[in-house]
């Protein structure tokens, strides 16, 4: 199981080496963590490819694809390694350095790993959608002798056959040649991603702000008990939270450095997000639009970097496009009955229910007041969020996304809105929490070029 995570890490690291060559703009530890995220995305796509070609689970073919890609990436990265061979031990040393604060940080994350594992004791098989949808589909991928298209056409529609299959393919890849029971695989995937969100928040902020507030942000997220509970529910929401946070980090890095390499990696992450959940497609569209808007009138002067961005996004969006075009049935929940008569009858009441439920959810004590803290911090810093270029884009994402979610909830007439909010709203806002904390701490601590007027 851990071997496959390592293989993905190596693939991702080789990919980032080829992208950045001699000009890395990210710190080594962040590069390593993003390598793992990118590598997992690549492994998921290779697994998906093997199912498209061979219809059922063929682990040897999945490993063959990984081997071929590894060779190609290694040959591509070899010139860079040859030039910087002597620096590799220094990079590794810098990553696993011996300064006291960093040592304490890594001890903290190790303790948190144990605590996160203990949190899962309350739901080792995950929550409802874990066994009713995600792990169910994983079982079909791994065990069925029938073509995997059965998942989309023959399972009951309550299993959401239109949902992308990032998490089931991820668990399928991690299972690999393992002869163990299936049960630990999604459990450990959830634990690893839970911790990875906290570490990514810390390392991502470390790229832009001092060490101590970066650590406080990561610790604040990772120690939140309800965040831990939701993240270990074995749903795909923690994956989308992780990749959205990675997208935020890379968006800020890209807009700061204006390097084609950063935009390329940013495009890759956005593409992966679209294959995790349907919300990922919305997030990708909003972040792409906000990136273009941030260039303003100078957008045509940066054609080269945008070309790399759209190239990467296009490449990693192809699997989602294939999935939505040829495999998945239409989604029942998003604007299914967009008829004026229905909207006139339901709109106001649904809006009222939505806003009331959102308020109740954000102020509920189960969140240990993290939302009250976050929204207060946003309000106190509102001028900077609106007027500063990089913060504005990230802040507008949350505003637009909130109204998009409101529109989806209030225009659906398939199921009771109260039930839908009760069963899904916590998960929707949970996936936004890492990125929101990133925005808050980044906006307070980073030093923009023109600070004098603030």
């Amino acid at each position: 199981m851990y071997l496959n995570h390592f293989i993905s890490l190596v693939l991702g690291f080789l990919t980032l080496t080829i992208i950045y060559k001699d000009r890395p703009s990210l710190k080594p530890a962040l590069t390593l963590l993003l390598s793992w995220g990118v590598g997992l995305g690549i492994s998921v796509y290779l697994t998906f490819l093997s199912f498209i070609l061979f219809k059922t689970f063929h682990p040897e073919k999945i490993y063959l694809f990984h081997g071929i890609l590894f060779l190609g990436l290694f040959l591509g990265a070899f010139p860079t390694y040859k030039r910087h061979f002597k620096r590799i031990p220094h990079i590794l040393f810098e990553t696993i350095n011996q300064r006291l604060f960093d040592a304490l940080t890594w001890i903290f994350w190790t303790i948190l790993l144990c605590l996160t594992y203990m949190v899962t004791e309350g739901h080792t098989f995950g929550e409802w959608d874990a066994w009713g949808m995600w792990n169910l589909k994983t079982k079909f991928l791994l065990l069925s002798a029938q073509p995997f298209e059965d998942i989309f056409h023959n399972l009951h529609w309550h299993t959401h056959p239109d949902y992308p299959l990032f998490l089931p393919f991820l668990n399928t890849w991690v299972y690999g040649l393992s002869s163990t029971d299936l049960h630990p695989i999604p459990l450990y995937t959830a634990i690893i991603f839970t911790l990875a969100c906290g570490i990514l928040l810390y390392l991502g902020l470390l790229q832009f702000i001092p060490k101590i507030p970066a650590f406080i942000a990561g610790a604040l997220l990772a120690t939140n008990p309800f965040f831990g509970y939701q993240a270990t529910a074995q749903y795909a929401d923690v994956q989308i939270g992780f990749y959205l946070l990675a997208g935020f980090i890379l968006m800020v890095d890209s807009l700061s450095t204006k390097k084609p390499q950063s935009f390329f990696l940013f495009g890759i992450i956005l593409g992966f997000m679209t294959f995790i959940k349907n919300e990922g497609i919305l997030m990708m569209l909003f972040l792409t639009g906000l990136t273009l808007l941030s260039f303003g009138k100078e957008v045509f002067q940066h054609k080269r970097v945008l070309l790399w961005f759209f190239l990467a996004l296009g490449l990693t969006f192809i699997p989602t496009l294939y999935f939505k075009t040829f495999l998945a049935p239409p989604n029942d929940d998003i604007l299914p009955n967009f008829a004026w008569s229905n909207l006139r009858h339901y709109r106001f009441m649904n809006l009222q229910i939505f806003f009331t439920s959102t308020f109740q959810e954000l102020t509920h004590k189960k969140w240990c007041w993290i939302w009250i803290f976050s929204l207060s911090a946003l309000l106190l810093n509102l001028p900077k969020l609106i007027f500063e270029e990089k913060c504005r884009g990230l802040f507008l994402f949350f505003v637009i996304y909130f109204f998009a979610i409101a529109a989806i909830y209030t225009t659906n007439t398939n199921i009771s809105i109260s039930w839908w909010l009760e069963s899904s709203l916590a998960r929707i806002i949970f996936s936004l929490l890492p990125s929101l904390l990133f925005l808050i701490f980044y906006s307070y601590w980073h030093k923009p070029k023109n600070l004098n007027h603030l």
Binding site: C368, W369, S416
Partner: protein, 136 residues
């Protein structure tokens, strides 16, 4: 200076919240550990007995009178689908060799067995029955 004051407030609030979070995480973990049921089994354990008999079977009918709406969370149907995967369970479709009967009361089970002329081949202690047609 104003920024520094806001920053200080946010830092203090965040630093206060961390041990608060850790305390409630500890409470949650202790509560779970004290309530652990050694007999706890995976979702769909009520149908686990049928796994051997249904190995290699592509489709099975799942007959039930329980509420199968999303709001009422599908009764036990999705749990059965999970534990018996990759066998596909077709809800309330009796055009299959094997049928699983899951009803709210045993009288309904007996009624369906008699009406459809079924022969029970296995059952669990949870009033779930696996049956085939008598004339097969």
């Amino acid at each position: 200076m104003k920024i520094l004051q806001r920053k200080t407030l946010i830092t203090i609030a965040a630093v206060v919240l961390i041990p608060f979070n850790l305390f409630y995480m500890y409470v949650y973990i202790m509560k779970n550990l004290s309530q652990l049921d050694p007999m706890f089994a995976q979702p769909g354990f009520q149908f686990a007995n049928f796994q051997e008999e249904l190995k290699g079977v592509k489709r099975v009918g799942f007959l039930t009178n329980k509420n199968i709406t999303r709001e009422d969370n599908d009764g036990h149907y999705l749990q059965a689908q999970f534990i018996l995967a990759p066998t596909i369970l077709e809800l309330n479709n009796n055009n299959h060799e094997f049928l699983i009967l899951d009803y709210t009361h045993q009288y309904f089970v007996f009624y369906m067995i008699k009406t459809l002329n079924l022969k029970p081949i296995d059952d669990t202690g949870y009033m779930k029955v696996l049956a085939v047609y008598k004339d097969q």
